[in-house]
C-alpha cells in the first residue's frame, strides 16, 4: 500500500513557523503508526523527533494526531487510518500550539491541571496494621476503569473547551478526580468535588461533545466520569446554587409542570436576576415566533403520569 505522509516539522528553538514534509512510503498494512514515525527517522531524516517508550500502549508517551484525530501511535493500525482518511495521512503533534519539536509537545498545562485535583490517595495509613484492610468487590467496582488512565493526553488535546478556556481542567483531570472520589479509602472526596464544582475550571463548563470518549485509547469514557462527578456534587451536598446547577435542576421542575420543557421559564429559573441580559435576544426571537407565551405553553398528554413519576422516581434533592 502506497501512502503519502504529510509530516509536521517544527523546532521551537530555530523556526518561526512550522512546515510540512511530504513523504511517499510503501507501507505494510500490518504496520502501526509508530512504525511510520520510526521509518521517517531511519529512512528519511535522522533529526525527526517524537516520543515513544513502551510500544505497548502503556506509557502514554506516543500520542499524536493523525488527520486531526488523537491517537496512540504504537496502538493505531495504519489500515484503520487509511480506511477512515484515505491514503494521504497528516501526522501532527497532539497540539500544534504546544509543539516543541516535531511531534513533541510541552505538556506543562496538562500536568498542572492534573495536579490540581490531587491525583493521589488521601488517607491515614496505619504503618503497622494488625489486620488486612479489605475492600469489598462491590466498592472496588465503583472505580470502574478509572484506574486505567495512562496520562497520554489524547482526550485533553481533543477537548474543544481546553482550547478556548485556559482555566478548564479538562477530561483527564476529571477522570482522575473520579478515580479518587469513587474510592472508599479516600478522605478528600468533598475537597475534590469542590474543586471540580467551580465554574470556569470545573465540570459545569463541559460542552458534552463526547470528543474525549471518542479519543481515549483506553476506552475510559471521561465524559461518563464527568456525569458521575455531577451526580456526586449533588449527592454530597457540595452543589452551590448558581446558574449551572439551577439549570440542571430546573429541568425537573419544568418537566413536572408541563411534561415538556418550558424554555423561557428554564432560563428565568437558571439565571435569576441575570435574565435581563437575554432580553435583546429574546425580543429578536419573539419577533420571529420563537417564543411561546406562558398561556400558550403546550403540555404533554397524560401529564398526571409524568407528575407521578417525577414524585416516585426522583432520588436526588437540591
Amino acid at each position: 500500500m502506497k501512502l503519502t505522509l504529510k509530516v509536521f516539522r517544527f523546532n521551537a528553538e530555530t523556526d518561526y513557523l512550522p512546515h510540512y514534509d511530504t513523504i511517499e512510503m510503501e507501507v505494510d498494512p500490518k504496520e502501526v503508526v509508530l512504525d511510520l514515525l520510526n521509518r521517517i527517522k531511519w529512512e528519511h531524516d535522522g533529526s525527526f523527533t517524537y516520543r515513544r517508550s513502551c510500544r505497548h500502549g502503556i506509557c502514554g508517551s506516543c500520542a499524536i494526531k493523525v488527520n486531526g484525530r488523537s491517537t496512540l501511535a504504537c496502538k493505531e493500525r495504519v489500515v484503520d487510518m487509511v480506511e477512515t482518511f484515505g491514503t494521504e495521512l497528516i501526522l501532527e503533534p497532539v497540539s500544534k500550539k504546544r509543539a516543541v519539536k516535531d511531534m513533541v509537545v510541552d505538556k506543562a498545562d496538562f500536568w498542572k491541571k492534573y495536579d490540581a485535583v490531587k491525583p493521589w490517595l488521601v488517607a491515614e495509613i496505619d504503618e503497622h496494621p494488625q489486620m488486612e484492610n479489605i475492600i469489598p468487590p462491590s466498592e472496588a467496582e465503583k472505580l470502574e476503569d478509572a484506574d486505567y488512565c495512562i496520562q497520554c493526553g489524547c482526550c485533553y488535546y481533543a477537548c474543544p473547551v481546553v482550547e478556548v478556556n485556559e482555566d478548564y481542567l479538562g477530561p483527564a483531570a476529571f477522570e482522575k478526580a473520579y478515580r479518587f472520589t469513587a474510592d472508599v479509602r479516600d478522605h478528600a472526596k468533598k475537597e475534590r468535588l469542590e474543586i471540580v464544582d467551580q465554574l470556569g475550571q470545573g465540570v459545569w463548563d463541559c460542552v458534552k461533545c463526547y470528543e474525549c470518549a471518542e479519543a481515549c485509547p483506553k476506552h475510559i469514557d471521561p465524559i461518563g466520569k464527568i456525569t458521575k462527578l455531577h451526580n456526586q456534587i449533588f449527592e454530597e451536598g457540595v452543589a452551590k446554587s448558581n446558574v449551572a446547577t439551577r439549570h440542571a435542576v430546573g429541568f425537573k421542575h419544568s418537566i413536572k409542570k408541563h411534561g415538556i420543557l418550558d424554555e423561557g421559564e428554564l432560563v428565568l429559573y437558571s439565571e435569576g436576576f441575570g435574565v435581563f441580559k437575554h432580553i435583546p435576544e429574546a425580543l429578536e426571537m419573539f419577533k420571529k415566533g420563537k417564543i411561546v407565551m406562558p398561556w400558550n405553553m403546550p403540555k404533554s398528554k397524560n401529564l398526571d403520569e409524568i407528575k407521578k413519576l417525577v414524585d416516585i422516581a426522583s432520588t436526588v434533592k437540591f
Binding site: G68, R69, T84, F85, P160, V161, V164, N165, L199, G200, W204, D205, C206, V207, K208, C209, Y210, E211, A213, E214, D221, T227, H230, N231, F234, N242, V243, A244, H247, A248, F251, K252, S254, I255, G259, I260, L261, E263, V267, E281, E284, M285, K288, G289, K290, I291, V292, P298, S300, K301, N302, E305, I306, K308, L309, V310, A313, S314, T315, V316
Partner: protein, 294 residues
C-alpha cells in the same frame, strides 16, 4: 416499498423555539408519503442535563417516552441530536441491564406502562437514509440545489459516542469523517462543502453558564464554513440551529469576524423541502433570526 411509518418524538425545541423544524419535518414527510405519528404523551428528554442531577429519573422519563412508541408498535424517530442521544442511551442501558430495566419498570407500572425494548430509536436523518434511501429521494427532487454550496454541520450527539450510534444505525458513521449529510446534499444535487468544523461541537450546552465558550465554538464553525465558500449551512440538530442562527452575531463577534453577509442556517428537513418543491412558508423559513434569502 410499503408505506413507512414512525412514531415521531419531537422534543421540546421543535414545539417552542424552532417551530419551523416540526413544520418542515411534517411537510417533507407528506411529500415523501411517510407517516409520522406524533408522540403527544412524551415528556422532555432532559437534554443531557437532567441526568447530571437525577440520573434515575432521567432513565424513567425517557423509558416512558419509548413506551408510547412501543404501544403503537412503531420505531421511534427523533429530530434533535440531543434527544436522540438521551433516548438511545436510555434504551441501550435498559436493554443491556435486566436489573436496571426491572427497577425502571417497577416505577412505570405505577402509571400502567411497561418498557419492553421493542422499538428502535433513530434520528430521522438515518431513518431517511436507511429506510427510504437516497436513490428514492433523488427521484423526488424537483428543484435541484445545484446553485448552492452547502456546509453540513453534523452536531455531536448524532455521531458521538460512535459506539452508541453504530448500535442503532445501519449507517456506520465515522465520527472523524462523517459522510451521511454530504451524501444527502449530493442526492439533492447540491454541492457539499468540506470544512474542518463539520463534525465539531457548537457549544450549546454551556450557553447559560459559559456563553464565551459557546460563542467561540459556534463562531469558529460559521467562519470556517464561510471561508470554504459555503452559501448556507445545514444541521440535523435544533440546538445547533439555535446557536448558529439565533446567536450568529454574538458568535462571529466572539471570534472577531464581521461577516460580509449573514450565513443562513437551515434545518435538515428545510433543505430537503426546498429540493422537493415546498414553499418557504411550508418550511417556516420566516422563523429564522438570520434571514434566509429567497
Amino acid at each position: 416499498m410499503s408505506k413507512l411509518r414512525y412514531a415521531l418524538y419531537t422534543g421540546c425545541t421543535a414545539r417552542e423555539s424552532t417551530p419551523e423544524l416540526l413544520k418542515s419535518t411534517l411537510a417533507i414527510a407528506k411529500k415523501l408519503d411517510i407517516e409520522l405519528v406524533l408522540l403527544d404523551e412524551a415528556s422532555c428528554c432532559g437534554a443531557s442535563h437532567l441526568q447530571d442531577f437525577d440520573p434515575f429519573l432521567s432513565l424513567v422519563l425517557n423509558a416512558r417516552n419509548i413506551c408510547y412508541a412501543e404501544k403503537r408498535e412503531l420505531d421511534m424517530v427523533t429530530i434533535c441530536n440531543t434527544c436522540q442521544l438521551n433516548t438511545a442511551m436510555t434504551k441501550h442501558k435498559l436493554d443491556n441491564d435486566p436489573e436496571l430495566k426491572a427497577k425502571v419498570n417497577e416505577k412505570l407500572e405505577e402509571v400502567g406502562l411497561v418498557y419492553l425494548g421493542t422499538s428502535n430509536v433513530r434520528h430521522f436523518l438515518y431513518a431517511l437514509i436507511e429506510d427510504y434511501g437516497l436513490d428514492n429521494l433523488r427521484d423526488r427532487v424537483v428543484k435541484p440545489l445545484s446553485h448552492l454550496n452547502i456546509a453540513p454541520f453534523y452536531g455531536c450527539h448524532n455521531i458521538r459516542p460512535s459506539e452508541l450510534h453504530h448500535h442503532f444505525n445501519r449507517t456506520k458513521e465515522n465520527p472523524y469523517n462523517p459522510t451521511s449529510l454530504d451524501e444527502l446534499i449530493e442526492a439533492l444535487e447540491g454541492n457539499s462543502v468540506d470544512y474542518e468544523h463539520k463534525n465539531k461541537c457548537c457549544g450549546f450546552h454551556v450557553d447559560l453558564q459559559a456563553p464565551k465558550t459557546s460563542n467561540i465554538l459556534t463562531g469558529n464553525a460559521i467562519v470556517d464554513a464561510l471561508d470554504n465558500n459555503a452559501d448556507v449551512m445545514v444541521t440535523p440538530c435544533p440546538l445547533c440551529h439555535l446557536n448558529l442562527d439565533v446567536k450568529q452575531k454574538a458568535a462571529t463577534k466572539a471570534v472577531n469576524r464581521e461577516l460580509p453577509n449573514p450565513m443562513p442556517i437551515l434545518h435538515l428537513p428545510q433543505l430537503i423541502g426546498l429540493a422537493l418543491g415546498c414553499t418557504p412558508e411550508e418550511l417556516g423559513l420566516q422563523h429564522h433570526v438570520t434571514e434566509v434569502p429567497a
